[in-house]
Amino acid sequence: MARNVTTRHKVTATVAAWVVALIIFFPILYTLITSLKTEPEAIAGFSLIPSGTFENYVTVQTQRDYFKPFMNSVVLAVGSTILALIIAIPSAWAMAFSPTKRTKDILMWMLSTKMMPAVAVLVPIYLMFRDFGLLDTRIGLTVMLTLINLPIVVWMLYTYFREIPGEILEAARMDGAGLWQEIVYVLTPMAVPGIASTLLLNIILAWNEAFWTIRLTTTNAAPLTAFIASFSSPQGLFWAKLSAASTMAIAPILILGWFSQKQLVRGLTFGAVK
């Protein structure tokens, strides 16, 4: 009797999980399908069977260069992530290992900047970028993306560092490790999984950031998000080409995510030590 219930439970849970996964994945799948349709097919209405043409990919690549925005995306995502980690690791470290009365307030204040709608500061930031000559530059955008994601990065790292038990550091001290040996042999190995998953998540966030990347760039520093947006242009909407461009834009990050999923899931759900 009990066994029947658990089996039924398992079947229900599995089916439910697949349904939810399919619903979440469906937009990506439909983008892929649409990219393999002709333009008339694409606007004709809902259909899951494309004619299987690769024409859109060829057109997209010949009309606009894919390589340049791709490189911009890589530079922006990696650059802003490294910059964010350089700032966030020491600050999260300090807050996790020598907290003061104000630590919680500072963390909350940092998070509160994420609560503000970006559009509220669009004009001042645009004007600042214009005056400092940062519009459409990789440097300007890297700094922007760093600042946008910094609160999340600090929070994630803070949570990981907090889970490293103080007694282990004390044990290392008793065992004769100096500060430097403590960092190299004990702290860093325990912190690496947390830092790695923060790094991966931030690369994904930076890669997909569209609000600022589209508004602060034109051609030189435009990443793949702007590349996709350029297909919904004044000449009219080209669903199939738009889908092809989108597929090309998300493919690299999807591949990265796929290979690092174990690390990502572990980092997001699992403490540093148990």
């Binding site: 282990i168 004390e170 044990a171 290392a172 001290r173 008793m174 065992d175 004769g176």
Partner: protein, 334 residues
């Protein structure tokens, strides 16, 4: 060598005086247990000796040398933590070898010492495993292994058995006592469990609110507790305290009678009690009684005693083993 001397040691956390002032002498090779209720400062005292906390005042001497300002590693002590504090990313071998690597010993020497320690602690088959793949008892042994390879002048144990289940705790208790006999090194052991204190210690230090209540051998503390606190803390089940007319008749404010010093009878005795709870353990029986004119009393007798809930039982205290306390709770000696 491993003698530890505390002179006037105090510790203040912000406003809170955790340890007002303590003087204590721990002799070389002694097994000393700090025992007391939670929050009594026993762990803090151990951490002060270890150097993990800075003293607010006073001096700590190890083998006559002032180490008050020395870093933990310079004190030549090894510590076993309650949470074991093993390095999760290292194998058992590397965990045990870590202090030796920090001391920059030769690789061959390290290997030999690790192998020896593993043999002593029955860890030889587990050397390549990670701590997460071990049971609680094995982890504890790794933590002990990491401590013994350093050949410290003293071992510090901070409630090392409290994360283990009852059966394993019993076994580990014996293993640690056995280790002490083999190594003959000073051991300072913190616990809130008075059974651990009684069974393992050469010398027990009873702490309460940061003060030492009494220092002595387990049987000293059992036979002649200096005050009500020690009398109530040492011994299981707890000593019974009787105020009022009976105590006055013995020229005391409070009379203390251990549960095992009450003679039980079904026919006659000084006091009459009604059984509230009877615990039949086989080897002995604990009766929790409501005694007329006195209150709650716990009695213990060897073997079985056929009494159950609601039964009438007569009790007579063994006058020779009576403890007497004055108004301030200090023991009165005859």
């Amino acid at each position: 060598m491993g003698s530890i001397t505390l002179k006037n040691v105090s510790k203040v956390f912000g406003e809170a005086k955790v340890i007002p002032s303590i003087d204590l002498e721990i002799n070389d090779g002694e097994f000393v247990v700090f025992v007391g209720p939670s929050g009594c400062g026993k762990s803090t005292l151990l951490r002060l000796i270890a150097g993990l906390e800075d003293v607010s005042g006073g001096q700590i001497l190890i083998d006559g040398k002032d180490v008050t300002q020395s870093a933990p590693a310079e004190r030549g002590l090894a510590m076993v933590f309650q949470s074991y504090a093993l390095y999760p990313h290292m194998s058992v071998r590397n965990n045990i070898a870590f202090p030796l690597k920090m001391a920059k010993l030769d690789k061959a020497v390290i290997d030999k010492k690790v192998t020896d320690a593993a043999r002593v602690l029955n860890l030889t088959d587990y050397l390549e495993r990670r701590p997460s793949q071990l049971s609680g008892g094995q982890r504890q042994r790794v933590a002990i292994g990491r401590a013994i390879v350093r050949e410290p002048s003293a071992f510090l144990f901070d409630e090392p058995l409290s994360n283990l289940d009852a059966a394993l705790r019993g076994t580990m208790r014996l293993e640690i006592s056995d280790l002490h006999h083999q190594l003959k090194t000073t051991m300072v052991y913190v616990t809130h469990d008075q059974v651990e204190a009684m069974t393992m210690a050469d010398k027990i230090v009873v702490l309460n609110r940061g003060n030492i209540e009494q220092v002595g051998s387990p049987l000293d503390l059992y036979k002649s507790p200096r005050n009500l606190f020690v009398a109530g803390f040492i011994g299981s089940p707890k000593m019974n305290f009787v105020d009022g007319a009976y105590a006055q008749s013995k020229n005391a404010r409070t009379a203390g009678i251990r549960p095992e010093h009450l003679n039980l009878s079904k026919d006659s005795g000084l006091w009459t009690g009604t059984v509230k709870v009877a615990e039949h353990l086989g080897a002995d029986t604990f009766l929790h009684l409501d005694v007329d004119g006195i209150g709650q009393i716990t009695a213990r007798c060897d073997g079985e005693f056929g009494a159950h809930y609601g039964d009438k039982v007569f009790l007579t205290p063994d006058e020779a083993k009576l403890h007497r306390f004055d108004d301030k709770g200090s023991a009165l000696r005859a």
